[in-house]
């Protein structure tokens, strides 16, 4: 009996050692793999990537060598990313390379991915980043992204807005490609607006007037999510854009500019002075905006464009509409957007194949899938001109296209910490414990230390 027990114990303790791969040595530089690809043949890179059907570049087969599989992280289950799933199938059919998408929830993605990158794991070929949590800038600073300039030329650059190109460029190089994004827009109840004879607001004054008129009978005229730090940051940047302000000035984050103080004052007044937004806005998330609208608790909101997905399967869908978020009178309207990126990992042993997949992911063919199948915000201008892309196939197509054209995107170091600090400032100001100026001045002091 003792011996049997010992055998079992030894087997149990040995099993992890038998299956664990341990830490691999860092990936050796591929010799000549990537250089074998001619990105401008058989036709120019632009024609390959911007044409309705993607064409592989010459030399790809020789370049990928023995690569049979690529691994990347997908934010959330692929079941809810049918466009990515379809794209993966197309790529595998084209190249024979199997794609392994590791499904990790948004909350755990940064923890798991950064642990793999710190361990210099060669198990990940592509790296997923965003503007705040898995920060594009910080990943580049950590040396966890490979430059992607070889995938961009002057023609390819015309596919993206200046703001997007600026956001992607760090130290004069581009380090990834913009996968999908979320534009902050104004969502509202069409039926209520029509009943009251109202049109969606274009200015802040109109927004306030409408919100006051519609706050009645247990419903609030407007709402914004200022709970989780990322959501609050997006809303703050939306109001800041509406005030004609900029978060980045001279390459530094400035949160206490006159426009920023004005933006925060507007948020505070909407809640505390005019009482046209629910008191609980400082606990609401982006997702809750759709739920509150569907439940008839609010008549309009500012949130990301993908919020409509929480309404699409409800009775409220027919009465829902989206438009650009209003700006202060006289201010040119811009739209704050969050974006995710895919980049090549420097520790990948399959860099040629990884770049090839990136090349495919950013192609017209795949971007159109994202737009048509999942209705995600994409940043390839040519796709938006496709005849199949219209109000029928993509709800609020004009609004989202308009938002993409006016994109305001901020990329800066220590983004997660700055976003958290800003969230605390907004919550303090909303609670009335400090004025907006005091709250933002306090944050700016801490931000200046981070940026020193």
């Amino acid at each position: 009996m003792r011996r049997l027990f010992m055998l079992v114990v030894v087997a149990v303790l040995s099993a992890p050692l038998a299956f664990a791969g341990g830490q691999r040595a860092p990936a050796a530089e591929e010799k000549g793999g990537l250089a074998l690809i001619d990105w401008n043949k058989p036709v120019s890179m632009y024609e390959r990537v911007a044409s309705p059907e993607y064409r592989l570049p010459e030399g790809w087969k020789e370049a990928i060598g023995n690569t049979k599989e690529l691994t990347f992280i997908n934010s959330g289950p692929l079941q809810y990313d049918p466009a990515m799933a379809q794209g993966m199938e197309i790529f595998t059919n084209l190249t024979g390379i199997k794609l392994n998408g590791i499904e990790i929830s948004e909350e755990l993605l940064h923890t798991k991915q950064s642990a793999m990158m710190r361990a210099r794991s060669d198990k990940l070929d592509l790296v997923f980043t965003t503007l705040s949590t898995e920060a594009y800038y910080d990943y580049q600073a950590a040396g966890w992204l490979e430059p992607c300039d070889l995938l961009y030329n002057d023609q390819i650059r015309t596919l993206y807005s200046e703001d997007m190109l600026d956001a992607m460029t760090i130290d004069g190089k581009i380090w990834g490609f913009p996968y999908i994004g979320g534009a902050f827009v104004y969502g509202y109840r069409k039926d209520i607006f029509e009943k009251e004879g109202l049109k969606p607001p274009k200015t802040w004054d109109e927004l306030l007037a409408i919100a006051k008129r519609l706050t009645k009978d247990g419903m609030y005229g407007f709402a914004f999510p200022a709970g989780p730090s990322y959501d609050t940051y997006g809303i703050f940047c939306s109001f800041l854009s509406g005030a004609g302000g900029e978060l980045l000035q001279g390459g530094k984050v400035v949160v206490n500019s006159p426009q920023a103080v004005e933006a925060l004052q507007v948020m505070v007044d909407l809640r505390n002075k005019y009482k046209v937004v629910p008191e609980g806005v400082n606990t609401y998330s982006l997702q809750q905006m759709g739920e509150l609208l569907a439940a008839g608790r609010i008549a309009s909101f500012v949130s990301t464009s993908w919020t409509y997905q929480f309404i699409i399967n409800t009775d409220m869908w027919e009465n829902f509409a989206m438009t650009l978020y209003p700006a202060k009178a006289g201010v040119e309207q811009t739209v704050y957007q969050d974006t995710s990126f895919y980049s090549v990992s420097p520790y990948s042993k399959n860099k040629a194949a990884a770049y090839l997949f990136l090349d495919f992911l950013r192609s017209y063919q795949e971007r159109k899938l994202e737009l048509l199948v999942e209705r995600n915000v994409i940043y390839n201008r040519e796709v938006w001109k496709d005849p199949e892309i219209n109000e029928e196939s993509v709800p609020f197509y004009q609004t989202i296209k308009s938002a993409v054209d006016r994109a305001k995107i901020y990329v800066f170091p220590n983004s997660q910490k700055i976003v958290d600090l800003l969230n605390v400032a907004v919550e303090k100001a909303l609670a009335g414990s400090v004025t907006p100026k005091e709250a933002l001045d306090e944050v700016q002091t801490k931000v200046d230390i981070l940026q020193f």
Partner: protein
Amino acid sequence: MLGKIARFIDDYFIVIVLGLTFLVLFSVVLIPTIYVFLLSFFEVAISGEMRFIGLGNFARALSDSDFWQFTYQTLIYTGGSVAMSFTIAFVCALALNKLRHLQGMLRSLILLPWVIPPAIAGLIWRWMLTDTNGIINDLFVNRLGILSKNILFLGITPWARLSVIVADSWTRIPFMAILLLAGLQSISQVYYESAKVDGANWLQQLTKITVPLMRSTMLVTLMIVTMLILRTYSIIFVITDGGPADTTQVLTTYIYNNTVRYWELGYGSALSVILLIIVVLITLYYTRQLVRKSIEY
């Protein structure tokens, strides 16, 4: 050969088993603890490069106003949670002890909150406490009409703090109640019978017999639960994520933010070491109380 191995196992069985146990404890517990301790003396860059800075991280913590605020909030949260959960658990244990014929069924019911993972419990409480469509506000405002407007449980500091304390206590009560019940059942009924004969009422029996004889059990229970609450992360993260405005932020969430979100591994490790010292000091206090002569009749 096999025979020699078999004889070796027979002769040194206890040593082998204990050795394996310590090996597991060493690798899973001790090595990470030592690593965190060593890391606390380094500044760790995003890329993982390390620079020795001695006590720099500890000095930074002591001059960090957020650290002091969150330590204070940790003590408030721990004290409130321990007090609330202990009081309710003790009452539950007394009730269970009285209702001996229903004890089996009630004990199973009372354990329900304990089997729910803390993160799920947090989600349930968050859902119940939201202002616009939470069932608690719905009950008191719409159904019973006791309140005229919704309470912002998660958005106003005092309510948010109370909410996380209540949610945390809810998850602790079952464990504490079971431990206290075990202590109650170890008290001989002879004492109560003698007390009744002497004319003692229930309050006198409670204060003069039950509490003194339960002292060791209560101290052990309080010690274990205090240590568990000091390590709480999931409940607060799910319900308030430290808000509103960091007023429910505690040391564990601050440590998580620094190590995982901000990639300040060195500073986060130093904060972990400080939390460990706090836990050890509290444990030592409880242990000293335990060592004091317990009451015997």
